[in-house]
Symmetry: C2
Subunit: 544 residues, 2 copies
């Protein structure tokens, strides 16, 4: 009798205390997140560090401590879960990026972003796959197959948009930010199409229709994902405007915006579309319409809480990657042949550098051909920064590598263990070294940007054409002098007009359409004349 | 070769689309949450409905639809998880309650709350256990043991603080709100002690030291949990004030407040304390100190985002409970003997009514003995409302019942199935019927409260003593006339003075201490003279 009662109550007690091991690890994680935030604050004025590097280093140090305490058994306390990453951590980050992005800057560079994101990723993937196939055979890495090499290409062609958000500042370098970040978003769609295409087509029977089919697939995926995001955003704007939700409760408005943004991501995943693209465009539409339909306190709340969620998710990812890096199991194969592992990592880093250079410079040249004024062109110095800022590989690469080379988090084959450790090395090295050097590089190549933050806001408020957005960035004397080699290429003005007119016409037509049809239905204000109430601008003027 | 490649990419595709079934269920849940919010908005002015009943009904309807579509197999799409409930959904609700609670009202009624929460729960648990033991034997429910009966007592003695938050309005009935909600919070600590005590002591050897031991345990748990919450709150205030986090980033402040609040809950769970008590007091301290140390936009953001998180978590719980209610597996035993099930549910509902009446009225009488002025006493009409508003049983009861009577969500024994279905019936019936009748009951018994919202805020702003908070509630002529039976009991004034002096002295000492030592270190403002910047008040004046 006594035994039965005590078993009953031990069950009830278990319930109230939950699984103790998971409670311990959650405590540790939450405490580390707090630590990262405080340390990040203290290092804010440091010109080298950024929050992701801090989190990565804290994660690694904690990994060392756990390793010592557990007697060399394990360095991490949570098993890496792709679900956790793709379902919970990534959506807030990408949504917030869309919500806070400077819309004019993004759409002005739309074609360039598409070039980089779609064609560029293909080029980079091809080069990494070919390079790895050639070199790894000589390095005696192990029995890797064609599928593995294609996967390596895909894994290391994935520009990590999370890292980009950390090293580039939207206010200081708006053009670079929109190009590199936009590329990262489009990147995802390209990868999904790439995988689907290779899976559904027989690689032995290569004929011209495959390319056409591939193109069709890509267009379908891109358009469908974008439309889904736009429609969800518009629906939220319509509901909040029509029903005037804020009349009764601010909390309902905020909850509805959060839930509908998340719904757009989940709907895209449900339809096998690119959730990242969908939630990004949902963020853009929400900041253009929905955000203006809610009450003043909801505006402040949504702006800051979306940013906070995204901020915490980013730190969480880097903390985890740092902590997981030292997991002893993966390194035991490496200790037998340290040379191979170092060589593999170096080769991969080299291929990443090469693969990215192979598309940034040619595609920038192509993109410059379409630009009318010298101010709108991507200067050589800026191309170098675009090349450099997209070199970092992060949690997306880790997630893909884990999926390809492990079975539920464990590695049994030597070649798989080497690939995992090489991925970790590349992620750590690229984030820390490339990341640390990005801020100084921007300061070196574009010395005026750090001070032009104020003037960007002032000028953009007064200006009525999208062009003026780039003036503070490109208008400095040094820049113009340095870019003579690019700017002096004279082309027939008719071609320039032909290439540049559609963008301007589309923009004018859009503004007319927005004023006449969209805004009366979906609310929103500020696209005409210059978005006085956009989340980012209001931040600078009033709420910081 | 082709096979291997396609398997590689099917893996990669699986990664990008995640587990499709869970994506479907998440879509449905998020869409239903949006639906609940919109419908809740449309029904806002309805005098009967509230958001939890809406969510419960929508959940039940969805359950019916899923049941039809799945061919009668299952009505729910997520398996009820106690972790989900206790680790993710409950903390934001309780933290927000502490964050938004009217602190003076709460501490003024502290002794009454402790009486209700500790002694009251014990009385209620004893009555339900004894009643169930007697009656269930006659009903032929099945082979239940003493442990089961004790668990039934604990399950149905648990006042659901989430429901209470929904039916009682802090602005309209501050005294009732703080009493019933405070009781629910203390309730949790009592339950944990109860389980621990019975587990660790041999029930066969009952001697006087057990009671003493039990009392010691309860005091330790209560004091330790409270201190942990207070210390975490103070630490957050100190860090944010000392380092002036808001200087660089608003997001860091918001993130730090959220993470430290959650950390307090997890630390309590780690130390086997009552997380609910801890996070509640952490919320109180944060609203008193930390909230005043952050920037203006962080204040608005935290206030609304905590409220939104709590709001969404509440709707989620009710939606789930409604959806789970129709799960066919549990009902198949019941269909054999519908009479027994109806009788069991009715008996339990009756015992809940009786058990609550058995401590509300006697303990209110005791509490009134300690009050000096007639205005501070709990009138008979208010006692009826306290009794009624605490009758609802919700997700806590469900979680406890699932833990006691099922093995990983499934029931195999007939008596267990009957207990689960009875719990569901009691939860649905008490929430819908008792919940629907609470608002009209308050209107019937206290007709003036709905209009006194404005004056509450005005008077509390001018007043300098805690007493005046209750004036708008109790000061109306009708109330005073109706409560003559209570108020006319004259006791020697020396006893009244003896009983009431400590509270006032403690309050004065606390204010001195707060001004002299606490506020210079931990920041915060507003306790003197009357909290002009408390989250709730600012809401009424400026931000709604």
């Amino acid at each position: 009798m006594t035994f039965e009662i005590s078993s009953v109550f031990s069950k009830l007690q278990m319930l109230s205390t939950s699984d103790h091991a998971s409670v311990v690890s959650m405590n540790l994680f939450v405490a580390l997140l707090c630590g990262c935030i405080v340390i990040g604050h203290l290092l804010e004025e440091n010109r080298w560090m950024n929050e992701s590097i801090t989190a990565l280093l804290i994660g690694t140090s904690t990994g060392v401590i756990i390793l010592l305490f557990s007697g060399g058994k394990s360095s991490h306390i949570l098993v890496f879960s792709e679900d956790l990453f793709f379902i919970y951590l990534l959506p807030p980050i990408i949504f917030n990026a869309g919500f806070q992005v400077k819309k004019k800057q993004f759409f002005k560079n739309f074609m360039t972003i598409m070039l980089f994101g779609a064609i560029g990723t293909l080029i980079s993937c091809t080069i990494i796959t070919l390079g790895a196939t050639e070199i790894f055979k000589k390095l005696d890495v192990g029995p890797l197959e064609l599928g593995d090499y294609l996967a390596i290409g895909a894994i290391f062609a994935a520009t990590d948009s999370v890292c980009t958000l950390q090293v580039l500042n939207q206010d200081e370098t708006p053009l670079l930010y929109s190009l590199v970040f936009g590329e990262g978003v489009v990147n995802d769609a390209t990868s999904v199409v790439l995988f689907n295409a290779i899976q559904s087509f027989d690689l032995d029977q290569i004929d011209p229709t495959i390319a056409l089919h591939f193109l069709g697939n890509f267009l379908y995926l891109f358009i469908a994902s974008t439309m889904l995001g736009v429609l969800t955003g518009l629906l939220s704007a319509y509901i909040i405007k029509k029903l005037y939700i804020g009349r009764h409760s601010t909390d309902r408005e905020v909850a509805l915006m959060m839930l509908m943004a998340y719904l757009s991501y989940m709907l895209a995943e449900l339809s096998y579309l690119s959730g990242i693209l969908t939630v990004f465009f949902c963020g853009i539409v929400m900041s253009h319409y929905t955000w203006h339909n809610v009450t003043e306190s909801s505006r402040i709340t949504t702006k800051h809480s979306f940013a906070t969620l995204s901020f915490v998710a980013e730190i969480f990812i880097f903390l985890y990657v740092g902590m997981d890096a030292l997991d002893i199991e993966k390194w035991k194969f490496v200790s037998d042949s340290p040379g191979t592992s170092v060589a593999t990592s170096s080769v991969l880093l080299g291929l990443i550098l090469l693969g990215r250079a192979a598309f940034v410079f040619p595609l920038s040249f192509l993109s410059n051909l379409a630009k009318k004024s010298p101010n709108e062109k991507i200067s050589f110095r800026q191309q170098v920064i675009i090349w450099w800022a997209g070199l970092m590989r992060g949690a997306v690469s880790m997630a893909l590598a884990y999926n390809q080379f492990t079975m539920s988090g464990h590695t049994s084959l030597r070649c798989n263990a080497i690939m995992i450790t090489s991925t970790i090395t590349v992620v750590l090295f690229s984030t820390v070294v490339f990341g640390l050097m990005t801020k100084p590089l921007i300061r070196l190549l574009l010395p005026n940007t750090a001070h032009s933050k104020e003037s960007t806001i002032t000028i953009s408020t007064d200006a009525s054409t999208p062009k003026s957005f780039t003036v503070p960035l490109l208008g400095s004397a040094q820049d113009s002098e340095a870019d003579i080699d690019n700017h002096d290429i004279h082309r027939p003005s008719s071609i320039r007009a032909l290439l540049s007119t559609p963008t301007h016409t589309v923009h004018r037509l859009w503004r007319k359409f927005d004023d006449a049809f969209m805004r009366p239905v979906f609310g929103g204000r500020g696209f005409v004349p210059v978005e006085p109430g956009s989340p980012t601008e209001r931040n600078g003027h009033q709420w910081r």
